[in-house]
C-alpha cells in the first residue's frame, strides 16, 4: 500500500515538473524544475527496487548534469529572454500526443509475461557481477570509458579560448 502511494505521489510530481520544463517562461526556473523531475525519477527507481540506480541517478543527474546545465544557462543568459516556441508548436504538440496515444494503446493491449519472482534486493553486487563478471558486459564498459574520455576531450577543445 505504501508503495502505491509513493508511486502516485512521485508520478504526479514528476509529470508536473516535466511540464514545468517545457512551459515555464524563465529558463533558470525550467532548469530547477528539471532537477526536481530527476529527483522524482530517482524515487521511481526506489519503488522499482533499483537501489544502485537511484543513487547513480542522484549523483550524475542531480549532481553533475544539472550543474552543467545551470552553468550553461548562466553563461548564455543575456542573449534570449524566456523560452519562446518556434513555429512548429502545434505540429509538435500533435506529434507528442499521437506518440503518447500509440504507446499507451500498445502498452495496455500487450499481454506482458510478468514474472512473479521477487527481485534481488541489494542490486549492487548483482550489477557488478553482470558488468565485470564472466560473460558480462565488460567490453561495453571499456567502450563506455573510451566514450567518456572522448567526450571530455571534445568538450575541452570546443570551449577553450583560441
Amino acid at each position: 500500500m505504501g508503495l502505491e502511494i509513493a508511486f502516485w505521489l512521485l508520478a504526479v510530481v514528476g509529470i508536473l515538473a516535466a511540464l514545468g520544463v517545457v512551459l515555464l517562461r524563465n529558463v533558470f526556473r525550467a532548469a530547477l524544475s528539471l532537477v526536481l523531475c530527476f529527483l522524482t525519477v530517482a524515487g521511481i527507481y526506489v519503488t522499482l527496487s533499483a537501489d544502485f540506480l537511484a543513487a547513480v541517478q542522484v549523483l550524475i543527474y542531480v549532481g553533475a548534469i544539472s550543474v552543467l546545465i545551470i552553468l550553461a544557462i548562466m553563461l548564455t543568459r543575456d542573449v534570449q529572454w524566456g523560452s519562446p516556441s518556434n513555429k512548429l508548436r502545434i505540429p509538435a504538440l500533435f506529434v507528442a500526443i499521437l506518440f503518447l496515444g500509440v504507446v499507451g494503446f500498445a502498452t495496455t493491449n500487450t499481454l506482458w509475461q510478468i514474472s512473479g519472482v521477487s527481485p534481488v534486493m541489494p542490486t549492487t553486487e548483482a550489477l557488478a557481477l553482470k558488468l565485470f563478471g564472466e560473460g558480462g558486459f565488460i567490453l561495453a564498459v571499456e567502450i563506455a570509458a573510451v566514450l567518456l574520455l572522448a567526450a571530455i576531450l571534445g568538450a575541452i577543445v570546443l570551449v577553450r579560448e583560441k
Partner: protein, 103 residues
C-alpha cells in the same frame, strides 16, 4: 488496483512525450538539450520497469540503464560545449537562427 508494469510504462510514455514536445517546439538550444535529457530519463524508467517485472533476477534492464546514463552524460557535456562555442562565435543560442548548414 495494485501497481503493475503498465503504470510505469504509461508514466514513461508521458514523460517521453513531454520531452518530445519540448525538443521539437522550443527555440532555446539549452531547453532543447534539457528536453532530450527528459526523454532519456523516460527511457530509463521503462528499462528499469521491464527489468523489475519481466526478468527480475537478470537485471539486464538496469545494466542498459547504466549505459544510457553514461551516454547521456557524454551527450550533455559535448552538447553544452557546442552551445557555448556557438554562443561565442555567433552571439545566439536560438536554434532557429543557427541555420548555417541548412539548405
Amino acid at each position: 488496483m495494485s501497481l503493475g508494469l503498465e503504470h510505469y510504462l504509461i508514466l514513461s510514455a508521458i514523460l517521453f512525450s513531454i520531452g518530445l514536445y519540448g525538443a521539437l517546439a522550443k527555440r532555446n538550444a539549452i531547453i532543447i538539450l534539457m528536453s532530450i535529457e527528459l526523454m532519456l530519463n523516460a527511457v530509463n524508467i521503462a528499462m528499469v520497469a521491464f527489468s523489475r517485472y519481466i526478468v527480475p533476477l537478470l537485471l539486464t534492464g538496469q545494466v542498459f540503464a547504466i549505459f544510457i546514463i553514461v551516454v547521456a552524460a557524454a551527450e550533455a557535456a559535448v552538447g553544452l560545449a557546442i552551445i557555448l562555442a556557438i554562443y561565442r562565435s555567433r552571439e545566439t543560442i536560438d536554434a532557429t537562427k543557427i541555420d548555417l548548414m541548412k539548405w
